[in-house]
Symmetry: C2
Subunit: 414 residues, 2 copies
């Protein structure tokens, strides 16, 4: 019997009516001959209520108790979903993390999945259970305490179950209908992708984070779990949503598959840094310790034993980054002339596995930006992504220009 994993997020189970709607989708897959593992989130708003109570009770809370409280939201949905399916005469049963058991390490609040033994669910499937409704986002620690998996935990739960139970697919039902070539709010030409490679999905994180948590995509890539993202609210057909899968399952692809952006970036430059071995570590070590999310890093050529070091970070971390750098300078960790911060930049990236085998993608990108008179401030490249920092005011223009330049509104061209 083939196994299918279906995951429903908070907005998809926000009310009893929506749970019923989700259950109908589950029923259809049971009718298609699948044994189904359904992963559910808490009804939307419930987790925030619980987190609010914890924070109000204890600002520096014990993460073990946080987990015990916060995990209860998913348990409620799991029971209600099982009851809803039973009302439709589908043999269903709810499972809390510890009952499966979904074994994690002891890192409360952000636990890592270690193992999902399949024996308990397998035995029930063999007994006639058609649907196991599993509370997402939670597991059990080696000490027998409830753990939660942290941000994106329910998506990660779903992928981990798909891997453990060798599921044919993991369908993530959410409130968007798939992954787009870019943000449809920026250009109406944005097109839903039918398929996207794991690697592209990861590089499109800034677009994709609204759709799928990075962590679940990494896990899916590692275990080669076919992930489908689709809407709980739209009409259903075989091509609904976007399939996130291995590169070799994508027959025809654009060289560039998406244009991503990140609006609130800052560019910081240390002018006149002494150019010596270990200088990068001396600069970026303290920044990491200060919790600064350094993204792009560029080092200019050296002149007279001095160089310029430029990096980008979220604009709301600039003050903290500045303090870290001044402190490091004061402590004698390194020398530099001047620190310049440009707080009005944005990052725009083109992403595509096709660019590995196609030359000229960068040149095509830079020309498109030049044609719109958009000045490029920093460039970084990876195998399947080219990113530039530009003035924030040109961000929408740049995204539209690149979407046009690579003809992303069409399939299998450019």
């Amino acid at each position: 019997m083939s196994r299918l994993v279906m995951k429903f997020g908070g907005t998809s189970v926000a009310t009893l009516d929506r749970i019923k709607r989700a259950a109908k989708r589950v029923a259809r897959e049971v009718a298609n001959g699948h044994e189904v593992i359904v992963i559910v989130s808490a009804m939307s708003g419930k987790t925030n209520e619980l987190v609010g109570w914890v924070n109000e009770t204890s600002p520096f809370y014990d993460a073990r108790e946080y987990d015990a409280v916060v995990s209860s939201g998913e348990n409620v949905t799991a029971g209600l979903m099982a009851l809803t399916l039973q009302e439709m005469e589908i043999p269903a049963r709810s499972w809390q993390g510890w009952q499966v058991p979904l074994k994690t390490n002891g890192a409360h609040g952000a636990a890592r999945i270690e193992e999902i033994p399949t024996a308990n669910l397998d035995a029930r499937f063999a007994d006639g259970m058609k649907v196991a409704v599993v509370a997402g986002f939670q597991g059990i620690s080696p000490e027998g305490r409830i753990t939660t998996l942290g941000r994106g935990g329910s998506d990660t739960t779903a992928v981990a179950f798909a891997a453990a139970f060798d599921a044919v697919r993991c369908d993530i039902y959410t409130d968007v209908d798939g992954v787009y070539t870019t943000d449809p709010r920026i250009t109406a030409k944005a097109r839903k992708l039918d398929r996207i490679a794991f690697e592209e999905m990861l590089e499109l994180a800034s677009l994709g984070a609204k759709v799928l948590q990075t962590r679940s995509v990494e896990l899916a890539m590692r275990y080669n779990v076919k992930l489908r993202v689709l809407s709980s609210f739209g009409e259903y057909d075989e091509t609904a949503g976007t399939l996130v899968c291995a590169e070799d399952e994508i027959m025809e692809s654009n060289v560039v598959n998406g244009v991503a952006y990140s609006r609130d970036e800052a560019k910081m430059t240390l002018l006149g840094v002494e150019d010596r071995p270990g200088i990068a570590a001396a600069i970026f070590g303290p920044l990491a310790d200060a919790g600064i999310n350094v993204d792009m890093i560029v080092q200019n050529i050296s002149e007279g034993g001095k160089t310029d070091m430029t990096f980008s970070c979220p604009v709301d971390q600039v003050a903290r980054a500045k303090k870290s750098i001044e402190d490091a300078k004061a402590s004698g960790a390194y020398e530099f002339g001047e620190l310049v911060a440009d707080q009005d930049v944005a990052k725009v990236s083109v992403v595509g596995i096709g660019m590995r085998s196609h030359a000229g993608v960068a040149a095509h990108m830079f020309k498109a930006l030049k044609d719109e008179n958009v000045n490029i401030k920093v460039i970084t490249t990876s195998e399947i992504k080219i990113s530039v920092l530009i003035d924030r005011k040109y961000m929408e223009l740049a995204v539209q220009a690149l979407h046009d330049a690579f003809e992303l509104e069409k399939i299998g061209t450019a």
Copy 2:
């Protein structure tokens, strides 16, 4: 180290402020040198919300899923209480039923406690834990499913923990400040009892049910657990509340300790029933099958092979009882002349373990009622209780008269 069990009901943990207030009472007991097991209910209103969702989803729900959903309310309170205690620098930890484990049978929705192994909590107490906050009302079945204990389950949980851990006392914090000689709404002379025997508490169920569930009192009596009922909201001192304990711990007692009442009773009489062996079983068997809560039963002397059989039941079950009786007659189970229902009666009882050794209590009661011209319709007696059915309109008058006649406003008299 002495162990103490403290139980807080839904209104006592309804908000974060009230949880904090309850935690202060726990802190005081820790300072007194106790290791404390706290049993908590769901925040008030939460269980009703969950039950409402279950009923709306599935009117004839699977009790296993009902339990999985409904038990989550207590889990939230347990975690929040543990966090609150930690904020007060008291080493505390939450425990869900399955973690203890509190082992029950598999009767979902109304499970019976089978065993509470003490090893897990004992090990943590030995490690320095001062307070174990246990989610009330729930346990785990032999199949590894969550069970709930049904009505009064949290009180029963508390008493069972007190028995298992050999606690010096089980304090039940609630929204009333103890057990009264009668309902203070009926007479301002009603006096809070400092102590009451288990047996009296059980017979006063109609008064006491607002305070303590019968089931928890039965369990306390069986294991001789000292139960104290007291208010979460009032001032605290050593004599706060009412201690429910074994008879031999009550030095001085009134002959009568309480006047109970039940307002909505009905009296039903079968006139001219054939008087033969087995007739009572023939009448009351079908009534039990129909779910009628028959309370008092009186059989008159027989005349000419016929007798009258009278019983009382809740007034809202009269129609169902009538149908059951007519059906039994139609099926030839037994014969009778006429069925008379009086739907305007109430039951008033006096209760006291002292009446075992005192003659004349019944006579004193009947005289007090006669002096107020209250006509007695049915009488039943047990070792420590005398109950009468009277016209409902005289109920308050009768309660007041009996409270006065036995001088219940005074201690250790009559």
